[in-house]
């Protein structure tokens, strides 16, 4: 290879443009190439000699011109090779960020480029061209460039279309919610969440309801009565319906879809409002979806384990606050908002020595007594506590207020008042935590 730098650079860049252009479009490759070269000019001044020329006939690829100059010829090959790597890297980045072309197989693209100009790439020390394979912004794809071909093949096999990932997710969510509500409510809940999330993920508008298709994944979902979710109308019918994520979703980036899926799962987990259900929801979801599909979701970037842990932990914070809120409300109704919060504050102060590990996460801002319940904050750190310890602290707090009741009839009716105020759902959660309200009540029976 004794050609000049300008000729060699021209050949390398022409190869990139041709191979990438064949996989995308002439328009795309010209625009991208111009942008990339413009961006890199500040780093590699010699790129001022490089230009791309549109061809007259639409089927032909554009032509790269590298103007001959003594300046360019004087640069060492490694430096030029670095520029070549950067150009390829940035063009790959543009492809992977594009809504239409992001699924282009960059492994094959690199193979083609290597086949076309292996010697030149070696001569210009362009050994890190594979870096381009690892730039999809997600760590798993970053590692692809470093792992061997066999592993890459395995991972590629697991990559699925967004619609193929979304459909079973929605159907499984409906199935899980049907355990706790009617089928109509379950479908309504899932689709409502999807509609709510449309604000952040506009592509979710492509989630529609269509008649059941023949393949089994839709067997999970059945609608029997008529109801409406925004513009989606479900007609009363004996025919099963399916939630279908249309192919348009496939053009959305994996990360966006993964993020949307994760939020839909989270919202559905909270849909019943019951702590014990939301805590085990992700585990049940994974079981219902199946390991293979779960792996595919994980590969897309859906962080199911993180979500599972978070939903589990969020419970204590919420339950503690709900308990304090119920006590506050009982006190407030008989006294005043300010007095109620002062009372909760004083009761907690009395227990703080014994349950410092619990009540360190409950803060009551004295300067905000006027704000009532808003003066009370339960910090997320409480979620890491041992359940038994939290249950004991809450039990003592309830007992303290009960003990303060003026007479026996007030004492015996207090727990009923507390349960009424707390609500059936949170009362059950409190008892599941280990706060046996019946035993507290029986002290005065």
């Amino acid at each position: 290879m004794q050609d000049s730098n300008s000729k060699n650079l021209e050949y390398l860049l022409q190869t990139f443009v041709k191979i990438i252009g064949e996989r995308t479009s002439k328009k795309f490759v010209i625009e991208t190439f111009n942008k990339v070269v413009e961006k890199l000019k500040s780093t590699y001044n010699f790129l001022k000699y490089v230009s791309i020329e549109d061809t007259a006939y639409s089927d032909n690829m554009p032509i790269i011109n590298v103007e001959q100059s003594s300046e360019l010829e004087n640069f060492n090959k490694e430096y030029i090779g670095k520029a070549v790597s950067d150009i390829f890297y940035n063009m790959t980045l543009a492809i992977l960020r594009d809504e239409i072309y992001f699924r282009i197989d960059m492994f094959d693209t690199v193979d083609d480029i290597r086949r076309s100009c292996r010697l030149l790439l070696d001569e210009y020390d362009v050994h890190d061209i594979n870096i381009a394979l690892g730039i999809k912004g997600v760590e798993k794809k970053r590692t692809m460039a470093r792992i061997d071909k066999k592993e890459i093949g395995e991972i590629k096999k697991r990559i699925i279309k967004n619609s193929e990932a979304l459909e079973p997710v929605l159907n499984v969510l409906v199935t899980l919610l049907k355990r706790h509500m009617s089928p109509e409510e379950a479908i309504h809940a899932v689709l409502s969440k999807v509609k709510e999330l449309e604000r952040n993920y506009s592509f979710l508008k492509y989630v529609i309801v269509t008649p059941k298709t023949s393949h089994g994944v839709f067997d999970l979902l059945q609608v029997r009565t008529e109801f409406e979710v925004d513009n989606v109308i479900f007609m009363k019918s004996e025919i099963s319906y399916a939630v279908e994520a249309t192919a348009k979703i496939d053009k959305v980036l994996d990360e966006k879809t993964a993020s949307a899926i994760q939020e839909i799962i989270e919202e559905c987990a909270k849909a019943t409002g019951a702590l014990d259900i939301s805590r085990t929801f992700v585990k049940d979801f994974k079981t219902a979806l199946g390991q293979d599909a779960v792996n595919k979701l994980k590969d897309m970037g859906v962080q199911l384990d993180e979500l599972e842990g978070r939903l589990w932990r969020e419970g204590y914070e919420q339950l503690t606050f709900k308990t304090l809120e119920a006590l506050f409300e009982i006190l407030r109704r008989s006294t005043s908002s300010k007095f109620a919060v002062a009372s909760v504050d004083m009761l907690i102060e009395k227990l703080r020595d014994e349950y410092e590990d619990v009540f360190r996460y409950v803060s009551i801002d004295k300067s905000r007594y006027d704000d009532g319940i808003d003066a009370i904050t339960v910090e997320p750190g409480i979620n890491n506590l041992d359940s038994d310890r939290l249950a004991r602290a809450i039990k003592e707090l309830i007992k303290k207020i009960q003990d303060n009741q003026a007479d026996l009839s007030e004492k015996t009716s207090f727990i009923e008042r507390f349960k009424d105020q707390l609500g059936e759902r949170h009362t059950k959660e409190l008892e599941n935590l280990g706060v046996n309200l019946f035993f507290i009540d029986m002290r005065f029976a």
Binding site: S336, K338, F339, A342, M346, Y369, A406, D407
Partner: protein, 124 residues
């Protein structure tokens, strides 16, 4: 030793009878009377801190609950014992008042009994 007691009640008959009664029963009592929650807070803000506060609940303007909460949130006033003056039928006042106050006295009350309760709270 002088026992400074602040009576907060909008009924002059109550404040007068408490002042005269306690000072008659024990010469060490020095009873100050105010007729509203706002006056009570003003007095405390002026650093006139009593040894104990007798606090009526149902008062126009700032009620006894809010006065008690205001007192408890201030670290300097927080340790002043509060005795609520409650109506006999008001069970909530008795039940919940005790969380923040040291005691409650049902109206109408015996002055001797009131004096004994105050003495006990003040450690006599």
């Amino acid at each position: 030793m002088t026992k400074n007691v602040l009576v907060v009640d909008d009924e002059p008959t109550i404040t007068l009878s408490v002042k005269e009664g306690l000072e008659y029963l024990d010469a060490d009592f020095d009873v100050t009377c105010v007729k509203s929650g706002e006056e009570c807070i003003d007095l405390l803000k002026n650093n006139q801190l009593p040894d104990l506060i007798l606090l009526d609940i149902m008062m126009p303007g700032m009620n006894g609950w809010d006065v008690a909460a205001e007192i408890r949130k201030n670290p300097e006033w927080g340790k002043i014992p509060i005795v609520f003056l409650t109506a006999k039928t008001d069970s909530d006042s008795k039940s919940f008042g005790k969380i923040v106050s040291q005691d409650y006295v049902e109206k109408p009350f015996e002055l001797e009994d009131l004096k004994n309760r105050i003495d006990r709270l003040l450690g006599y």
